[in-house]
Amino acid sequence: MLKITDLSARVAGKDILKGVNLEVRAGEVHAIMGPNGSGKSTLAQVLAGREDYQVTGGSVTFDGHDLLALPPEERARAGLFLGFQYPVEIPGVNNVYLLKAALNAKRKSAGEPEVDAYEFLSLIRQKMKLMQMSESFLTRGVNEGFSGGEKKRNEVLQMLVLEPKLAILDETDSGLDIDALKVVSAGVNSLRHPERAVVLVTHYQRLLDYIVPDQVHVLSGGRIMKSGDSSLAQELERRGYDWVMESQVA
């Protein structure tokens, strides 16, 4: 589904990604771990099409199409979703309104009619229940005055409504207490499907207790240094990232 080949990218004149190779197949969940500053978030932003992140080499295909040739909104409509590490506030814009606009943009590009208002409301209520969000959320502005945990739940809620083929969740677990982590994990797990894939970007193994990945990758210095199954995450938890670096040198 997603094939990244020798991807290099720079931000503000600094090379961050230095030849990333990664393949994610439908039905899989991948975790990308690594120390601070290793390029995890940059990878997520580049895949989503952030303008100020400059691709300097390599290629990315998504469902066989050249992903890097598409503007960000078309990547989204094609089924790529980014759960933001720091979701922005958009004052005065209703949360539900944004979500409806997003869903309709996607439906339109798929040649489907706009969603019926009543159906939409019942869909969103059902997903909100799963995410244990209060009704007041319906009338609030986009992330306006949300706590860190609420923002993350909101990201997952958007993902559930949009049902992307590929969800990239950038540190969706950070800042969550254990109860919220369980809720968010349940949300992500509910989306698992043979036709979909999830890429989790995270610092901590903790998340992977609830969302068990098929593959774990360690990104460091702009490259994937090591890949393995879910036991790799546990080993990282015990031995730290330095262990990966040392084993590479050896």
Binding site: E73, G92, L99, A101, A102
Partner: protein, 482 residues
Amino acid sequence: MSSKSQDVEALLAQKYRHGFITDIESDSLPPGLDEGVVAAISRKKHEPQFLLDWRLKAFRHWLTMQEPTWAHVHYKPIDYQDISYYSAPRAPANAPKSLDEVDPKLLATYAKLGIPLHERARLAGVAVDAVFDSVSVATTFKDKLGKAGVIFCSFSDAVRDHPELVERYLGTVVPPGDNFFAALNSAVFSDGSFVYVPPGVRCPMELSTYFRINAAKTGQFERTLIIAAEGASVSYLEGCTAPMRDENQLHAAVVELVALDNAQIKYSTVQNWYPGDENGLGGIYNFVTKRGECRGRDSKISWTQVETGSAITWKYPSCILKGENSIGEFYSVAVANNYQQADTGTKMVHIGRNTRSTIVSKGISAGHAENTYRGLVKILPSAAGARNFTQCDSLLMGPKCAAHTFPYMEVKNPTATVEHEASTSKIGEDQLFYCLQRGISAEDAVNMIVSGFCKVVFKELPMEFAVEAQNLLSVSLEGAVG
């Protein structure tokens, strides 16, 4: 959302949508201004002596005045002798008594503007007093209003039918010599709207006027006077638009509001005069004096404006809070794109005890535009316990526009409370990217972010106006980002 973006494109393809010119013979005075012209206007309108004297006094005063230069706007000097001060559609010998008698071309013009008088008025329950150039051509719902005792008519009709009310209130809020443009208007105003709501009456419908400047090289000088007597209330809507021309046109209106004890007046404006083209050629100079006086105790005057048009806007709807416990409000969205210049704001003058005022101003600048908020909060020694809250926010789109805020405060009573908040922000790349990543187009995203920014003002507008205002914003800001 998706169909909305098509609408925006369609609207853009049409450029300035209201830029058509109706081909009707005008009965105009030749360009030029002297006492003879002032007298001719008065004579054409069969005015009583007091009004002619009033006009001439204003004109003589105007001659002694200098055009103001303090506003943060730039334009070439206006040649006041090159303007025609009167233009009326040439009507058949008898003035139309019903819509059926109105020139069909004129009605078609209104239809293009989106106000088919019959349907719109009936369906929406809105009485429309449509001002075409200078003469009021059709007034609907007069009867229904008449039953409630509400007088809603053209200014000329008011002068003819209710001269005592006109004489009593005209110029009592904006005196003829108030400022350069008000003095000019007082001398040469040709028509406008008049509203009187008698004591204890709540006006049974929203009152609405659409103004339109049509004939080339005519200035439009309309005069609006609204009086809400003791315990009365009224909501008045004003929509403005003008055809596209290369030369600039002057619009110098005066609006006076009087609220007596316990009365309420809500005055909403959506202004979309032609702003000039993307290079700054043409467009309306909108130099308007709007002021309301809360003359009675517990009265309230509320101004809401959405300003998207005009090459230059110079406008400060104000409240004189004379009555004890009276309330003044000002909610404004001002958009300036391309080479538009807007210098707008309000004055709240607190005279009575425990008077309160609220100012919420949202300025949006794009292109090479200059957008200035200028506000004065003045608390006189008599205004014990007065309170003001002011919030001014500016949103910048692109690197070449500018926003300025000049809040003046004069507080002469120590028991008064005055609060001021201000912010300037750019449309965030983060906000934009967030929307794009959700599949929303850049155009729709910008509309959404801007509407969110303006929401507190839009919710003060009557429903149908809020929709129109939102559409206008989308069109005005097309292409400003991205």
